[in-house]
């Protein structure tokens, strides 16, 4: 989708909502949360498989975003700004997790599925579900940078310039990172499919 169409969709009423949220309007804040919580959770889901972690990270992202809403530059995309904060939140989460490595895998269904191997459920999976399962796993094995760019491009369908804004890199670098991410994803997916 072209830049201006994205802009047309995203800026609808957004400026008013942000300014009202800044002034402490609860309804405006709630409207922004409602508008972006789903997208944000979906974006974070592309990076971590644990649904509980997704919810925690979504909440933390909003808290940080509203705490620094005054710093938001109105000329930028609010969504891009929000997702940028989500990236930082996710990296912080990973850092903390490394410090406390004991993690439960109970909620990581795709991984469990792979570990269990001949589980009865697997037999019921059709070919597409199996492929999807492999793809999700391949995605979860990638480094956060690549996860972020793939998630933004293919799950959130962000245009390149918005991804550049989100990740703080140039559009050319987005292009190159996207290529590398896809190459790695294809390699991992292929290995898992064999």
């Amino acid at each position: 989708m072209t830049k201006w169409l994205w802009a047309a969709k995203l800026t609808q009423d957004e400026g008013i909502l942000i300014q009202q949220a800044l002034a402490g309007e609860e309804l405006a804040t709630r409207a922004l949360v409602d508008r972006y919580s789903g997208q944000l959770a979906s974006y974070l889901k592309g990076q971590t498989a644990d649904d509980f972690v997704v919810e925690d990270l979504t909440q933390e992202t909003f808290l940080r975003a509203f705490a620094s809403l005054e710093k938001f530059d109105a000329s930028r995309s609010f969504r891009g700004w929000l997702f940028g904060i989500a990236n930082h939140v996710y990296v912080d989460y990973l850092r903390k997790r490394r410090e406390k490595p004991a993690q439960s895998l109970s909620n990581d269904e795709s991984l469990l599925t792979r570990i269990r191997g001949g589980s009865p459920d697997e037999a019921e999976l059709d070919e597409t579900q199996d492929k999807l399962s492999c793809l999700r796993e391949a995605l979860s094995q990638m480094n956060p940078e690549y996860q972020a760019v793939i998630s933004a491009r293919y799950l959130q369908e962000m245009p390149r310039h918005e991804i550049a804004d989100l990740l703080g890199i140039s559009e050319y670098n987005v292009k190159m990172r996207l290529y590398r991410a896809k190459k790695e994803l294809v390699d991992r997916y292929e290995r898992l499919r064999r």
């Binding site: 802009a7 889901k45 793809l135």
Partner: protein, 1139 residues
């Protein structure tokens, strides 16, 4: 057969396929690689599978969040806010802001809302920016210069006025300040004189780049800035717009009356900013707002007839909308305001009534503090431009960190200022500077042109102790002055380390000889580095000398592939080699094309060179049919053939042979598509069902091209197209198919477009279809547009539908209301009209109800930005000439050059009120941007009685400044080219073209002598312009000579007499047989001018076969007289005779 390729590159291209459309050569490369390489094929398949599956992995984010997530989050946010805002009174609600679309837009609240207390702490004194005086880091250099200039100007201008009973006297003045006397019989604006006496009732206007300080009483001053319009009153100052900074002693009151109420400052310093009332709201009320900021002391705001009032203490900042009470500013708005005040120069380092001293002080300050290289560079540049010799003299030779930009600015400043040490300093730069600084320093010394400077250059060039690069720069600078070169430039170039030096001598410069041989030796000298040889080949090409061909042919066998490719490409350069390809060059290029040891890219270069050098069909056909050659090479040959004239049997044979080439089927459409007149439609229709989207896209594209084929489409074929158009996976392919259907079966296309509309999902595609539907007039489409407009579709689609209706003049009932509502909603957030939806809505209203949008569009044009040009064009097409003139008057004062350019362009394209010619002429004289000047001059030429050449000549003569004369000369050249282009343009009316032609006739193309007189001889680009202008003129004449209008032919032939050119001879000779005697007479004169004696024996009064025989004799004489014309011209003449 194995296909050599780089798997990484192919994989990258495969990955990019999902992001963009590959070019045909890239698509061919991918197709071949996939066909021949298992690895690429696997990656291709896996990549597409992954990309297809990725959207499937998307989950519904909302379902991931547990119930009550939003409530919990809101509670946490409330707690977080309570922690971070401890000062807010618990019983005081947060201020409501019902409308804030941009950082500077402020809330409007109802009239009856109580004044509220500010909750944000503001700095009493704005903090000084960390990045120096008025510059921003990482900004482009010109911006840094502009920023520093703005700060300096702000500190420069000012007025000191003394209070007297009943009048105010000014001791000094400077800057762009105007006054309108209340006492004058005919009130008019005038520039404030040196010692003004202002009285109550006088109005003062302070331009955007100036500051005026009025002393209303001994202890009350008001500083006006920012495009400020103020009127002096007995006990207050009325500010209609702009910024006023009021300073009053403790205990003293000072009132500022504004359209939004009165601000009374009580001691201290208060800033009052009033917006210009450009925009009007939907209900007709004036837009804009008032900002009041108390930096120290206190203030009160009140409004007549309203109970609303507010008291402001130090640090408070409030804003009042057009109808609202005061509300607080956010921190970011306050920071912006603080920056504004700082920019105005609220705290200049030292107030001085002498502006020159103030400016010098500021420049000197910038040079003393060398922390910020951009600021120092800008200061040196400004000082140089304004001729402050002392300041330039005090500038350091170099900064702490070597900075080429600074050195170049210093060199330039030294040229402009007459300091005793400038030549010695430039000499130091010449000897010690790096490559680019040396060149600048040498040119600077050359520009000074004094005997000592030339001696210095010559001495530097001869002194063997100096670096060869410096000596070369000095030599070239002397040669550019048409003096004997002090040293052999070619030898120096060989010694110079930097390869760019060789490129320098490759450029044609007067006074240098022997370069060609030197370069030829360098290009084939194996002992030199490959880079040097490459530069030498490039320089040889730049010489545009056909005799360099043998050297280039030798260089095609260079060991380094880059040199080989450069030489090969040079052999195909038409500017160098206008003649037919000789045997040796052809053999070299053909050998390169067939050389299997070199890569495909190099072979493509060779094929391109061959194709450009008039390669005959007979030689192209075998290359196209040679299957051992890379397909891309054959495609180039095919493209060359496509441009040539080939007969039907050749095409059939080619197509048959290409079709026989399977299994390379994927590339067949690309090749076949090149033969657009005879593309086999069935083949392409088959390709539409291919699995590869790239092939489908290519086939769709070539199908649309093959429309030139006159064979009517059958119903079956149309239905087949209709069937695949929605299935095509690529948006581009679908567009091509729609386009094809609409051309071959327009009635069916309308049905299809309306049918497919509900199934379309992408907004952009729906918008595109909507635009396509505009072509179909009639009630059916009108009804459809009205349905879309009244639906709940996206605003983009609705406004596009409204525009369609407006363009047809069939808006219908209720449409104005609908589109007004859409426009009001959109423009609230998109004041710059950067979004297509807003612009569509604005255009629709402009056609239906212009008064609603004219002011908005006007403010968009004057504010510059991305939509200014677009908005301006729409506005100009709807506005009457006097309204456009009003726009002009505002635009010429804009500080933004792009605004001035766009508006000047509007006047050129749309015409303007002839009564404003004087304004345009004034603007023309003060405009600095050369392109804007060209446009203005062009506009002037449209008015009768405005001899353009005179204007330019006046300008050139009236300015003693060297740079301005140069500008005038360049303007003249560029203007000529522009005018010629316009005169050829079919978009102008016949009358406009006639006026342009008249303007052209008054101008003489500046010859080399006049160029030199104008001081541009050292400017290489001037020569380029000269040649461009000349070639454009010849092109124009050629078109005129071939005109179907007899008068035009005669005029062109007469003009050819004034522009003798041998390449026109064949056409002129043909005109000797023209039916119209004036044409024959003019042609006779022109031919005689170019080739005296050629027409001996020709009788202008002869008729019929006798005249034709005479003309044939002239032709024969021409073909047998090599002294007259080039072989090419003779060949053209012979061909002409055969016809």
């Amino acid at each position: 057969m194995a296909f050599e390729h780089d798997c990484d590159t192919i994989e990258r291209l495969i990955a990019e396929r999902s992001e963009r459309t590959l070019r045909p050569d890239e698509a061919v490369g991918v197709a071949r690689a996939v066909a021949s390489c298992e690895s690429c094929k696997r990656f291709y398949a896996m990549h597409d599978e992954v990309v297809d599956l990725l959207p499937e992995t998307r989950v519904d984010g909302a379902s991931l969040l547990s119930d009550g997530f939003t409530d919990r989050l809101m509670a946490k946010l409330a707690a977080q806010r309570a922690e971070t805002v401890p000062n807010r009174d618990a019983d005081e609600p947060a201020e409501s802001r019902d409308n804030m679309s941009g950082a500077r837009r402020i809330a409007r609240v109802p009239d009856d809302a109580p004044p509220t207390r500010t909750t944000i702490e503001l700095p009493v004194t704005p903090s000084v920016r960390k990045d120096g005086p008025g510059t921003i880091r990482h900004m482009p250099r010109w911006r840094a210069v502009a920023a520093v200039a703005a700060v300096l100007l702000a500190t420069l201008f000012g007025i000191r006025l003394l209070s007297e009973s009943g009048s105010i006297g000014a001791t000094t003045r400077c800057g762009n300040v105007m006054v309108r006397r209340a006492s004058a019989s005919t009130p008019a604006w005038e520039v404030l004189p040196d010692s003004p006496t202002l009285r109550t009732g006088d109005a003062v206007y302070v331009a955007a780049d100036s500051v005026a300080e009025l002393r209303l009483a001994d202890d009350v001053t008001v500083q006006l800035a920012d495009d400020c319009l103020a009127t002096l009153r007995a006990n207050a100052i009325e500010v209609a717009c702009g910024t006023a900074i009021v300073r009053a002693a403790d205990g003293r009151d000072a009132s500022v009356a504004t359209p939004f109420g009165r601000v009374t400052a009580r001691g201290g310093e208060t800033v009052v900013r009033v917006d210009r009332p450009f925009a009007s709201t939907a209900n007709g009320a004036a837009g804009g707002e008032l900002v009041a900021w108390v930096r120290s002391g206190s203030a009160a705001w009140s409004r007549e007839g309203s109970a609303a009032a507010a008291t402001l203490n130090a640090g408070d900042a409030r804003v009042v909308g057009s109808r609202g009470a005061a509300t607080a500013l956010s921190a970011s708005e306050a920071a912006l305001l603080a920056e504004d005040v700082e920019r105005i120069g609220a705290n200049p380092p030292a107030w001085s009534p002498n502006p020159v001293a103030a400016l010098e002080g500021s420049l000197a300050l910038a040079l003393t503090d060398r922390t910020y290289p951009e600021a120092v560079t800008a200061a040196v540049s400004i000082a140089g431009r304004l001729g402050y010799a002392d300041i330039v003299a005090s500038a350091p030779d170099a900064l702490a960190e070597p900075n080429t930009t600074y050195s170049a600015a210093l060199a330039s400043a030294l040229v402009r200022t007459d300091t005793a040490t400038r030549e010695s300093r430039l000499t130091r730069l010449l000897v010690d500077g790096d490559e680019s600084v040396r060149v600048v320093a040498a040119q600077a010394l050359g520009a000074i042109g004094s005997p000592t400077a030339i001696d210095t250059l010559a001495h530097t060039a001869r002194d063997e102790r100096n670096d060869a690069g410096a000596r070369l720069a000095a030599t070239l600078a002397v040669a550019a002055l048409d003096r004997p070169a002090p040293a052999d430039a070619a030898t120096l170039a060989r010694q110079a380390e930097h390869a760019a030096a060789m490129r320098a001598i490759g450029k044609p410069r007067p006074g240098l000889t022997g370069d060609r041989d030197a370069l030829a030796a360098l290009a084939t000298d194996a002992s030199r580095s490959a880079l040097d040889r490459l530069e030498a080949v490039a320089a040889l090409e730049a010489l545009c000398d056909p005799t360099t061909e043998p050297t280039l042919i030798r260089a095609t066998t260079d060991p380094d592939p880059r040199v080989r490719d450069a030489a090969t490409a040079a052999l195909g350069n038409r500017r160098v080699f206008e003649s037919e390809l000789p045997g040796a060059a052809r053999d070299a290029l053909v050998a390169r094309v067939h050389d299997r040891s070199v890569d495909e890219h190099s072979r493509r270069i060779a094929m391109n060179a061959l194709a450009k050098r008039a390669f005959s069909n007979a030689e192209l056909l075998p290359i196209i049919q040679d299957r051992s050659l890379p397909i891309s090479v054959r495609a180039i040959a095919a493209r060359a053939l496509d441009k040539a004239t080939i007969d039907g049997s050749q095409v059939d044979y080619l197509l048959a042979s290409i079709e026989a080439e399977r299994p390379a089927t994927n590339v067949t459409p690309i090749i076949t598509g090149l033969f657009s007149p005879a593309t086999p439609r069935t083949t392409l229709l088959d390709r539409l069902e291919d699995r590869d989207p790239a092939v489908v896209e290519a086939a769709a594209k070539f199908l649309s091209r093959s429309l030139r084929n006159k064979t009517p489409w059958t119903t079956t074929e149309v239905e087949r197209l209709s069937g695949v158009r929605l299935l095509a996976s690529s948006r581009l392919a679908r567009d091509y198919l729609r386009s094809t259907i609409s051309r071959v079966a327009p009635k069916r296309a309308l049905d299809l477009l309306l049918e497919e509309w509900p199934a379309l999902e992408g907004l952009d595609e729906r918008a595109s279809v909507l635009v396509r539907l505009r072509r179909y007039e009639g009630d059916r489409t009108n009804r459809f547009f009205r349905t879309v407009l009244s639906s709940d579709a996206d605003d983009l689609l609705r406004s596009s539908a409204a525009l369609s209706l407006a363009m047809r003049g069939a808006p219908g009932r209720g449409v104005v209301g609908e589109i007004s509502a859409i426009y009001s909603r959109l423009v609230q957030h998109d004041r710059v009209m950067a979004l297509a939806a807003t612009m569509f809505a604005a255009r629709a209203l402009l056609l239906i109800e212009p008064t609603l949008v004219v002011e908005d569009l006007r403010s968009v044009v004057l504010s510059g930005g991305p939509s200014a040009a677009n908005a301006g064009r729409h506005l100009a097409s709807a506005l009457p000439a006097p309204e456009l003139t009003r726009l002009l008057v505002d635009a010429r004062h804009s500080r933004d050059p792009s605004v001035r350019y766009h508006v000047a362009r509007l006047f050129q394209d749309f015409g303007f009120d002839p009564a404003s010619a004087a304004t345009i002429r004034d603007w023309f004289h003060t405009e600095l941007d050369p392109w804007t000047r060209v446009l203005l001059a062009n506009s002037l030429s449209m008015i009768d009685g405005e001899p353009l050449a005179t204007v330019l000549r006046e300008f050139a003569a009236s300015n003693a400044n060297h740079a301005q004369r140069k500008l005038a000369a360049r303007c003249q050249i560029e203007l000529f080219a522009e005018l010629v282009g316009a005169a050829e343009s079919r978009t102008l009316t016949r009358q406009q073209r006639a006026r342009l032609t008249a303007a052209l006739n008054t101008m003489a193309v500046p010859g080399r002598t006049s160029l030199r007189t104008h001081g541009v001889s050292e400017n290489q680009s001037a020569w380029r312009h000269y040649s461009d202008v000349r070639s454009t003129r010849i092109r124009l004449l050629r078109a005129g000579l071939r005109s179907t209008c007899g008068r035009a032919r005669a005029a062109a032939a007469n003009a050819s007499n004034g522009t003798p050119d041998a390449s026109l001879l064949p056409i002129l000779i043909r005109l000797l047989d023209d039916e119209a005697s004036p044409v024959r007479a003019a042609a006779l004169g022109a031919v005689d001018r170019v080739a005296p004696g050629l027409t001996d024996g020709y009788d202008i009064s002869a008729t019929g076969p006798a005249r034709r025989a005479m003309v044939d004799r002239v032709r024969d004489r021409l073909s047998g007289s090599p002294s007259y014309v080039s072989p090419e011209t003779r060949a053209v003449s012979l061909l002409d005779a055969r016809k």
